[in-house]
């Protein structure tokens, strides 16, 4: 029983990574109608920026957080016009072209990280950021501060963004310009400013996610973004594109499934089994388990 509980906790920890990334992914989908396949790579880039700042400021966490947020916002703002230009019809999600464009962005980011930072080696974050000792340890069950923080913030982020997008005026404005720019203009929503704000919001979230992942994982590597990108996309699709709450549930469920497969079956089959389960879900529920929310 203890082993099972330990694996479930491990699964929640792994799942919180998917939740955080899927939330950011869905946010971009909701406010800009883009499938940013390389969103995990953008977050990993922000992790590297945070690491550089930590190194040169004597581990100042506040500056690292700010730097991560700023870099994520900048990357989003730079890529925004590219996405806008290539989308044929901004009232619908154009998966093919946005996915391909984000593929190109992801390739560039991964390669720059391989070349330009730490000679392509993985980076490690200072122990005090990660947590040096578990906050709870009972037999095989172990809980680190970073794990608790990332799961808690993941849930808060989903709730917060849901409230922002669906219960506040700015949030409705973001969704309006994504769904119907002409209509939004007609009702007096300033397109450029609101559009920039929506990208910046997603950048802020990206920066925060970067810091949380640094706390959770304690390290990063150039290939980290690519390693999780497929699963983040799958989580979002299985949950239902744009479905924030669904992303939370499916992300955590996927994490638990993977942990249980690795723990009780085989590490090498964990990806294959996870994807088969997701595939079965897709075949029976093509619009996602919880429905598309675009």
């Amino acid at each position: 029983m203890q082993t099972f509980i330990a694996q479930v906790i491990n699964g929640l920890s792994l799942g919180s990574i998917y939740v955080l990334l899927a939330t950011g992914f869905n946010l971009l989908l909701l406010v800009a109608m883009i499938i940013h396949f390389a969103y995990p790579q953008v977050v990993v880039f922000s992790m590297y920026i945070a690491w550089v700042v930590l190194r040169y400021t004597g581990n100042s966490i506040i500056l690292a957080v700010l730097a991560a947020i700023v870099s994520s916002v900048l990357l989003n703002l730079i890529s925004a016009p590219l996405f806008q230009k290539i989308m044929k019809n901004r009232e619908e999600v154009d998966i093919n072209t946005t996915m391909v464009l984000s593929l190109g962005i992801g390739m560039i980011i991964t390669d720059i990280l391989s070349h330009g930072f730490n000679k392509g080696l993985p980076i490690a974050f200072p122990p005090k950021l990660v947590g040096e000792t578990p906050i709870l340890r009972v037999g095989l069950i172990s809980l680190m501060g970073g794990q608790v923080a990332s799961l808690a913030v993941g849930i808060i982020a989903v709730s917060g963004i849901f409230l922002l997008l669906y219960k506040t005026r700015p949030g409705r404005a973001f969704r309006a310009i994504a769904e119907d720019p002409n209509g939004a203009r007609l009702v007096g929503i300033p397109l450029l400013r609101t559009g920039l704000e929506s990208y910046a919001l997603s950048g802020v979230l990206g920066g925060l996610i970067a810091v949380l992942l640094a706390m959770l994982l304690g390290y990063s590597s150039p290939g980290l973004g690519e390693q999780v990108a497929h699963k983040v996309l799958a989580v979002s699709i299985i949950a239902g594109l744009g479905n924030l709450a669904g992303g939370l549930v499916v992300g955590l469920a996927l994490g638990i499934l993977e942990a249980l497969v690795q723990g009780y079956i085989s590490g090498s089959w964990s990806n294959a089994i996870a994807f088969v389960v997701m595939l079965i879900v897709m075949l029976f529920r093509p619009r996602g388990l919880f429905g598309i929310k675009l």
């Binding site: 082993t3 330990a6 694996q7 906790i9 491990n10 699964g11 920890s13 792994l14 990574i17 390669d111 391989s114 070349h115 730490n118 000679k119 392509g120 080696l121 993985p122 980076i123 490690a124 122990p127 000792t133 578990p134 340890r137 095989l140 172990s142 680190m144 959770l216 994982l217 304690g218 390290y219 590597s221 290939g223 980290l224 390693q227 999780v228 993977e258 942990a259 249980l260 690795q262 723990g263 009780y264 085989s266 590490g267 090498s268 964990s270 990806n271």
Partner: protein
């Protein structure tokens, strides 16, 4: 840039790329005594970009360091030597094209690195009867290309069991769980570890497979600990090995010397990721960094100067030694580098290396026997503050 210019650029690229698939020109025409060329050019098919660029970098460094020293001492038969890095980017598609250009002119080649590129490109070297020194792969991969390749390592089945056995015996390990990365020869190496520990009566409780894209290691570590081992062997990627050690510690593992890391984990990524959490763990590899010889001290100092103080990884000496082996082969056989005699001289150089005796490597001497090294030592080390402290030397 307007659309017409874009289109024109594409056409020019297409033409250039077809032309660029051609080979290298002839080497220069004058040189030292008996030698008809100005410079020995040794191509090194290496992964200088891509997922293992950090490994490719120090392999290249080692080869260039050897060339530097040789040139300082007067070159090979009085002629300078140059190692030419040829990037295969871990891509077999690139590796075959580069090798097919190299076989048109090179006397001998270094690499390829790593295994997928070896498998794709080495047959071209074999077909053209050119020695290609795959100095980082196991015998199981290299022997299929004999006699146009040599192995830097004895067979896994001979080499690894003594290392695992000595560790299990010295640290009183009785029940072992092994983390195994599912890649290349590692599962075979893991099996050899198990053979070794069984020789001293230790029990192999099971293997935990580490997926290539694992980002958290809690589930794997819990699975391992659930088997109640008193010893752990880790045979997977360096950064993942470090994370596994950290995860073990966070779940209460305290006997750090009962964790054995295999040699392929001995890479900068292990130390940059693991840091002080690795203190006390045991690692095996094939070079003793604490040796005190002028040659090794100079190598180590130069490496640390260029790599922010990091100790040279185990594989960093392999291509250094390979270049010196080529030097000795050229000088002993008296090859001239004459392109008209390329076929015969390739054969002479290859034969000289296959059974070279008393080769003075950077750290020890060894003999080659039909392309397989004999009497090469292995070492157990304990890691402390990012450095390896020698525990013992082991020879078969």
């Amino acid at each position: 840039m307007n659309r017409k210019m874009f289109s024109l650029l594409a056409v020019l690229l297409l033409i250039a790329s077809v032309l660029g698939a051609g080979g290298k020109g002839e080497p220069g025409e004058s040189g030292g005594a008996g030698v008809v060329i100005e410079e020995w050019e040794i191509p090194f098919l290496n992964s200088l970009t891509g997922a293992i660029a950090s490994i490719g970098e120090y392999l290249q460094w080692g080869a260039e360091r050897a060339a530097f020293e040789i040139n300082q001492a007067g070159g090979i038969a009085g002629v300078p030597v140059k190692v030419i890095g040829v990037d295969t980017a871990l891509e077999p598609q690139k590796g075959v094209v580069e090798m097919s250009k190299i076989v048109e002119w090179a006397l001998v080649a270094l690499g390829p690195v790593p295994e997928p590129v070896i498998m794709a490109a080495a047959p071209i070297a074999v077909e053209n009867e050119m020695m290609t020194m795959t100095a980082t792969t196991s015998l199981e991969y290299a022997e299929q290309f004999f006699p146009w390749s040599i192995s830097w390592f004895p067979s896994t089945a001979d080499r690894l069991p003594p290392l695992a056995r000595e560790w299990a015996e010295d640290y009183d390990v009785n029940k072992v769980v092994q983390f195994v990365g599912i890649y290349g020869p590692w599962p075979g190496m893991a099996a050899a570890h198990v053979d070794g520990i069984k020789e001293v009566g230790a029990e192999h409780l099971g293997d935990v497979e580490v997926p290539q894209d694992a980002v958290t290691f809690g589930p794997l570590v819990v699975k391992a600990l659930n088997m109640n081992p008193d010893g752990i062997i880790i045979a997977c990627w360096p950064d993942k090995a470090a994370k596994i050690v950290q995860e073990l510690k966070s779940r209460g593992w305290t006997d750090m010397d009962k964790i054995l890391l295999f040699s392929s984990a001995d890479d900068a990524a292990l130390y940059t990721t693991g840091g002080a959490d690795l203190n006390g763990t045991v690692i095996y590899n094939y070079i003793n960094v604490d040796q005190d010889t002028p040659r090794w001290n100079a190598f180590k100092e130069a490496y640390q100067k260029d790599h922010n103080g990091l100790q040279p990884p185990s594989l960093s000496t392999n291509y250094y030694d390979a270049v010196y082996m080529i030097k000795r082969a050229i000088e002993e056989t008296g090859v001239t580098g004459d392109p008209k005699k390329l076929k015969e001289e390739r054969k002479l150089v290859a034969e000289a290396m296959l059974n070279m005796k008393n080769f003075e490597g950077l750290l020890f001497k060894w003999d080659m026997s039909d392309g397989v090294p004999t009497n090469k030592p292995g070492y157990l080390f304990q890691i402390q503050d990012g450095r390896k402290k020698l525990v013992k030397e082991i020879r078969n």
